[in-house]
């Protein structure tokens, strides 16, 4: 008897969990997907191809007619792709930073070299080109 009661309680609790946890879970997952998209976008990644997919998922969920497994599979796809875009964006922004750092370093170095050695270089060239000129 006690086992039967426990079994009923378990089944009830499990079914309640299924009924009430699914929509919340999806909302959380949409939030998660959006967060990954947001991060990728903020890091300069192009997420324009993923936004319509997420919008379709939101529409499906809001309409109330959706297959949980399909929606979750789509959300996983969005999350995975957004993470890939984010990783690529981070690499690109790091490369840009390195490029800019090297450029700025070279510019500063050139400025110093021009400041220190340009007059001497200029007059050396001038003398080489026009040193044999005779003043009359």
């Amino acid at each position: 008897m006690r086992i039967k009661v426990l079994l009923i309680i378990f089944i009830l609790a499990y079914s309640t969990k299924i009924c009430f946890s699914q929509p919340v879970y999806n909302e959380d997952k949409i939030a998660e997907a959006f967060k990954v998209l947001e991060e990728a976008s903020m890091n300069g990644g192009d997420v324009s191809h993923l936004v319509p997919v997420l919008n379709d998922i939101i529409l499906e969920i809001n309409s109330g007619h959706y297959d949980v497994e399909i929606v979750e599979a789509k959300l996983d796809l969005v999350i995975n792709n957004a993470e890939r875009v984010n990783a690529e964006a981070l690499i690109e922004s790091r490369n840009n930073l390195i490029f800019v750092g090297i450029t700025v370093f070279l510019v500063v170095l050139l400025e110093i070299l021009v400041w220190k050695f340009f007059p001497r270089l200029f007059w050396n060239i001038w003398l080489r080109k026009r040193g044999d000129w005779i003043l009359r």
Partner: protein
């Protein structure tokens, strides 16, 4: 100024300009000076104006919701359609305390906009009913939609059903 000094100055200014042009985008980033979102209601013909003034009770009115994102990043929007009247004013800081008629959600990439067809039906008859559209933005840090003070409204009279 001697000739060599003039050339030296020109070269140094050119190098300085090159350095600034290279570093500026990285230092300043793609910062948006005045980020903002757009919320608008279009009439049944997708135009500003021609809004219905008299609505028979229980009948659907077809409108269009316009959203625009100029926030500099992707935004997850929620628009709540609320019903009210003259007794309470709409605030820029607090959400309107009215019955929620419907909710629409949309994710928009930066510098994008969308127009959504919406349908509203009012049951209770009365004059000067206020249909308020409020814009919320999802904040990932707090995991909640937050009211940003963006709202528009339509004044309608709900008449007896035809």
């Amino acid at each position: 100024m001697r000739l060599d000094e003039k050339i030296q100055a020109v070269i140094m200014i050119a190098l300085l300009a090159l350095g600034i042009l290279t570093a500026a985008p990285v230092i300043l980033g793609d910062r948006v000076v005045e980020p903002f979102s757009e919320l608008g209601i279009l009439g049944p013909n997708m135009k500003l104006g021609d809004y219905p003034r008299e609505i028979p009770s229980g009948e659907n009115i077809d409108l269009y919701l316009y959203l625009g994102n100029h926030e500099g990043t992707i935004i997850y929007y929620r628009v709540q359609v609320k019903l009210g009247d003259q007794s309470t004013n709409v605030s820029d800081t607090m959400p309107y305390q009215g019955e929620i008629l419907s909710t629409y959600e949309r994710v928009l990439d930066d510098e994008n906009n969308c127009t959504l067809p919406i349908s509203i039906s009012l049951i209770e008859t009365g004059i000067n009913k206020r249909i308020v559209f409020e814009l919320y933005e999802y904040k990932s840090e707090i995991r909640e939609f937050e009211y940003e003070g963006n709202w528009v409204q339509l004044w309608v009279n709900v008449t007896e059903p035809r």
